[in-house]
Structures are given as C-alpha cells and as structure tokens.
C-alpha cells in the first residue's frame, strides 16, 4: 500500500522567508514522514499556479521589500486562502504574513497596507522594535518558546483568540499581554526561532489537522525527538 500523501505548501519562500522560516517547513515534513506520510512540498511564489490540492500552509516574515513584492499576488489569492481556512486547512503564518493575513497594516507614516482579512486583526506600526526571547502560556499548547522581532503592534478583534499570553516578552502589541492569533486551524504568531522545532505541540496540532482533513484519520505516534526538551529549557532561561 502506498503511503498516504500530504501536500504541504510554503507561501512565498523567495520573498517571505527570513528568520529561519524554512525550519518550520522542515519540522512539519519530518514529523509527517516519521509517522509514515508521503509529503509533497510545494513552493508558491508570486505568479505561480496555486496547486489544486493543499493540506497544510506555512508562511513567514520578510523584509519590507519582500512584502512589497508579494502584496498584489497575496490580494489576488486572498479569497482562496480564506476559503481554505474556513474549510479547516491548518496554516501557520509568522510575522510578516501574520500581519498581511489581518485587515490592514498602518505604518507610522500613515500609509495603509491592505491585508486579506483572513484574521480579524489590525496592525499599526510602532515607534520601537520589540525584540528578544519570548515565552508564552497557551491554553491549547502549554508553554510556547520563541524569539520575537517586530515593530508592528497587532490588536485582536472579534472572533479571534490569542495564540497565548506572554510570560516573557512583549507579544502582539506590548500592551495587552496577548501574543499571536488563533482562528479555526490557523495559527499566527510573531515568534520565530524557528517556532516549530522547539514547540512540537504546535507542529503536531498542524499535522494532525492536515491528516484528519485529508484522510479522516491521523497516525498519532508519539515522537521522541532528541534534544527537544533541553533546547526548550535552555531557550526559556536565556536573557531577553
């Protein structure tokens, strides 16, 4: 019997892939492979044809120039992504794509960059960058560990839950203690580090829902990944 297939799509790897976003793709692929899935990796860049079958979507952050390059394409793709999200496709949106998945980004010079409104969140440019090791408390995923680096301040609106509450770091906006956003099976966050290697609970949430939606079942084998626990411990203890 052939191994069950999962189609994993990386959104804009050329322009939105800074701060180790590739690490998230690697981890999802590996954790699926270790459970017997055949992972087909798709890279989607502006102008590419969007694959017919997509089970899991990952996107990352970019420089301002990278964000400019993908904007028009993302707006054209927005409707499709929203449908997929509402249909339960798990997605991970980090940093820049988190912002663009929201309603808008208003820069501190007053320019408004439209988002695709997949997440009901608003972002405004802040005067300072929020940078450093970050630890969250999440009701769904337990302790989440990462590294934040952003100046945009994001505010959650109706229908969107935070990914977690900061116990170390600034989070969404440095004010309300929230970090990231949750909607259906979409996880959005400012945390890189990369996020998934040190947060297997989040990685497994994404792969579980990808498998359940595609195949109706998930081969829920417990994975013993070496160094994972120690890496979590040492990162959480490092200065900001």
């Amino acid at each position: 019997m052939d191994a069950p297939v999962i189609d994993l799509l990386q959104l804009y790897p050329r322009d939105m892939n800074i701060y180790g976003d590739w690490g998230n793709v690697l981890v999802l692929r590996k954790r699926l492979q270790l459970r017997g899935y055949d992972v087909r990796l798709h890279e989607y860049n502006p102008g590419d044809e969007f694959p017919g079958q997509v089970d899991l979507i990952v996107g990352g952050g970019g420089q301002d120039s990278g964000q400019n390059k993908i904007q028009a394409d993302l707006h054209a793709l927005g409707g499709r992504l929203k449908e997929l999200a509402d249909d339960g496709v798990p997605m991970l949106a980090i940093c820049g794509l988190y912002q663009l998945f929201g309603n808008f980004f208003k820069t501190h010079t007053g320019d408004v960059i439209k988002g695709i409104g997949l997440l009901n969140v608003d972002t405004v440019g802040g005067p300072t960058r929020m940078i450093g090791n970050t630890v969250l408390d999440s009701s769904e995923f337990g302790t989440v560990i990462g590294y934040e680096n952003h100046s945009g301040q994001t505010f959650l609106k109706e229908g969107v839950q935070p990914f977690g509450t900061v116990t170390k770091g600034e989070g969404n906006n440095g004010q309300d203690g929230t970090e990231g956003a949750r909607y259906r099976n979409v996880v959005a966050s400012y945390l890189h580090g990369s996020l998934l290697p040190k947060n297997p609970a989040v990685a497994d949430f994404l792969v579980r829902h990808a498998a359940l939606r595609r195949h109706g079942s998930f081969n829920d084998v417990r994975l013993d990944v070496p160094y994972e626990a120690e890496a979590r411990e040492s990162s959480a203890a490092r200065p900001r």
Partner: protein, 424 residues
C-alpha cells in the same frame, strides 16, 4: 590648546585603562568629551586621507589585507587594530599612535567600521575612499532589517569624496552606485562560474542565484579558486596567486582588498609587490585560524550569520575531518537562534558532527536532527567538549565551527590543554 589637552589626557587614560586591563573605548570616550573635533583634526592631516571598510561579513580580514597591501607599497598605515570598530574605538586607537603633540605619523588611515557606527563616523570625517563588501542578515536583533543596514552603507557611500569600491555581486551593494557623489565608482566581482558559491540571502531558499542581469565591469574579478590557488582577473589580465588564506569567501575578500588598494594607489601601484603582499596575508585574529594541535591541523572557523556559515561549509569539505560546532548566544554573538535554520547542513551528513557545544548546543543539535546529520555528543560545557574532541581520535585533522564568544573561549582553552602552534 584643547587638542593638546585632549591628547595628553586621552593618552594617560589609555595607559591607566591598559594597566587595569580595561576596554579599548574608555580613553576614546574621554578624548571625545574634551575635544569633539579631535578626530577630524587628527585624521584630516593625513596626506592620503581616510579609507572606510564596512559590510556584514569579512570586514576584519579585508581591512587587514588592505593595510598589508598598502604597507607593502611603502605607505605608513594607521588602522584600528584592536577590533574597536566604532568611533570611540578609533579615537582610542588614534591616541595610542599619535605623538603627545597630537599628530598621527601615518600617510593614510584604513578603518574597519560597523555599519551603524560608520554613519556617526562619516559625519565627523568624510572618507576619501570606501569599500562596501556586502549586506547580509546578521544580528537582525540589533539592526532590525537588512534595508536599515543597507541605508547605513548608503550614507557611507554618499559621504565618500574620492572613490567608492562596491561588490557588484550583491544587488543591495551594487545599487548604492546611484547614491555616490564621489569622483569614481569601482567594482570587484566574481566570474560567473563561481557565483553559485555565493548565494545571497534573497535566493537562500529559491535555489537559483539571480538571473545574470547586466553587471558593471569590475576592476578585479575572482575568476578561479581552488584551495589556496586563486586567479584574479585584474583590468582584463589574469594574475595567479597562491594564498595563505583558505575558504572561498576569504579569497573573494582579497579581490575586494586588491580593488581598493589599486584605487588608492592609482598609477603608482607596484603590481609585483601587491601580489607578494596578497600572498603573505594571514587571517585576522579571532576570524578563524589554522592551528596545529598535538601534531594535527585544527581549523577554527568563525560563523556568525547564515550566509557566512553556508559559505564556510561549502569551502571546507567534511570528509576526513572530525567536526565540532560551538554556538553561543551572548550579546556579541546575537541572541536570535533562528539563523541556524537558514543554513544547509547536508554537507555534514555523511561524516556527522562529533561534538556540539556552547550555550545553545541543544538548539544546534536539534537543527542537525531535522537535517539527518548524525551527532556524537551534545554538551553545553565548552571545555569538556573540546577536551573530548581533541583527545578522541587524535590522529585525525579537526575543524571547529564556532560563534564569536565561543571562539574566544575555545582559543583560550586550547592554549591551556595542549601545545598549540599557529600556522596562520
């Protein structure tokens, strides 16, 4: 009178700071406070002016090369050797080498400056020449964005009066040409066959190295590089050299240094002597060294950002070597570990990594696990890890990839543990 006072006080503080084993910036701070014009006045008297070298990777080694190339032409060169590559550090270095009357006995100053600090510096002293190497992801936790860093370099280019030397292979650097108001822009570059060795951050994951857009002519091109043997195409002529530096990125830096030296010297350049100086250059302290430990070669390779780490892995084949990786996340290393996920480690998969160490050893080991690279031991204790690394399998050559503070610690420990002979 102010100038004289600043020099005397500064020099005194410098001696005191030395006795206390203190930092190199303190005397500079004192001199700056007393006389803010200290630097422009001292450096302004140099007959060949000031050269600024900046960029993300390779500043220290390239500066050392330029200094040696110019010294080989008989110039007296002032440089900020202590690694204090910010304005106060330069003041401190000037104090160290100037007479009590506040005069610097040099023909030219060649200064390595951090991008952000260079912006302050060029406001005080307009460089006659500048060399801008590259702009890559490095310590974004400090500067925030590559575009911010590129903006710093643009200000250096704008402030330069005589000539700006640019890396034509780095689009963000080559793009600075339009900001230049100096008399001349010159380039150094790579032959097309070598370009795949130098992927930029932009095509890190897309696999292709930018389409061959029309590149400007370069004064010096690195046209081939095979171990220590390199060929430079200078002004259309091929020049073969046998270098003491290894690693293709170091060899490319020598193309940059050569282009700058040729620009500064103009028609006066003695080409034979330039080549001899270039062949004699060894790596700068703390930028990687080749040592002999217990009769076996041991390379210390400094890695501090994804592009640099990837270049190093491509430059040094792993087979036949024992490999160690030591990753710290102290302030000087950068706290953000995400860069480790932007390095491809598959070249280590066959031979594996014997020791993984440093404060963030487990982050590094986890990274290797996800790339299917076998790992021997993981130990955050650098000393214990290093000891095992050199004592087990003593007859094999060794290589350690390490971040800055890990390198300093390892170098110290190596001196204690064994007989160390510095090869280069």
């Amino acid at each position: 009178m102010r100038h004289l006072l600043a020099t005397v006080v500064g020099k005194t503080v410098r001696v005191v700071a030395k006795l206390r084993g203190g930092g190199s910036a303190l005397p500079g701070l004192v001199a700056e406070k007393i006389d803010p014009n200290f630097l422009p006045r001292t450096l302004g008297t140099l007959p060949h002016g000031v050269v600024v070298i900046s960029g993300t990777n390779g500043k220290t080694t390239t500066t050392k090369m330029v200094v040696e190339l110019l010294q080989g032409q008989g110039l007296r060169v002032f440089t900020n050797r202590t690694g204090s590559n910010f304005t106060r550090g330069v003041v401190a270095a000037v104090l160290g080498e100037s007479t009590t009357a506040g005069k610097l006995t040099a023909d030219i100053a060649v200064l390595e400056l951090d991008e952000a600090h260079a912006v302050h510096f060029v406001k005080l002293v307009a460089p006659r020449y500048s060399l801008l190497l590259n702009v890559m992801r490095d310590q974004l936790d400090r500067f925030g964005e590559i575009e911010t860093t590129a903006g710093f370099l643009r200000q250096i280019a704008q402030a330069t009066t005589e000539a700006v030397v640019l890396n034509r292979e780095d689009p963000r650097i080559a793009g600075l040409a339009e900001a230049v108001t100096a008399r001349e822009v010159r380039y150094f570059g790579l032959a097309s066959g070598l370009r795949h060795m130098f992927p930029s951050d932009d095509d890190m994951r897309s696999g292709t190295t930018g389409e061959a857009a029309a590149l400007p002519d370069a004064d010096v091109i690195l046209s081939s590089c095979d171990g220590p043997e390199a060929t430079f195409t200078v002004d259309g002529r091929d020049i073969d050299a046998r270098l003491k530096l290894t690693g293709v990125y170091n060899v490319y830096n020598s193309a940059a240094a050569l282009a700058l030296a040729r620009t500064v010297l103009g028609a006066d350049a003695d080409e034979e002597a330039l080549l001899r100086s270039l062949e004699a250059v060894t790596p700068a302290f703390g930028r990687g060294e080749s040592l002999t430990v217990n009769g076996q070669p041991l390379d210390l390779v400094l890695v501090k950002n994804p592009a640099g780490f990837r270049l190093a892995l491509r430059s040094f084949p792993a087979e036949g070597f024992r490999t160690m990786i030591a990753i710290n996340d102290n302030y000087a290393d950068g706290r953000d570990m995400s860069w480790l996920w932007d390095v491809d480690f598959d070249s280590l998969a066959a031979a594996g990594v014997d020791e993984v160490s440093g404060v963030r050893a487990h982050d590094m080991a986890l990274r290797l696990f996800y790339e299917d690279v076998p790992v021997g031991r993981v130990d955050t204790e650098l000393t214990a890890s290093l000891r095992r690394f050199i004592e087990l399998d003593p007859d094999k050559p060794k290589r350690i990839y390490c971040t800055y503070t890990a390198m300093l610690a390892l170098r110290r420990e190596l001196g204690k543990l064994t007989d160390v002979e510095v090869v280069s």
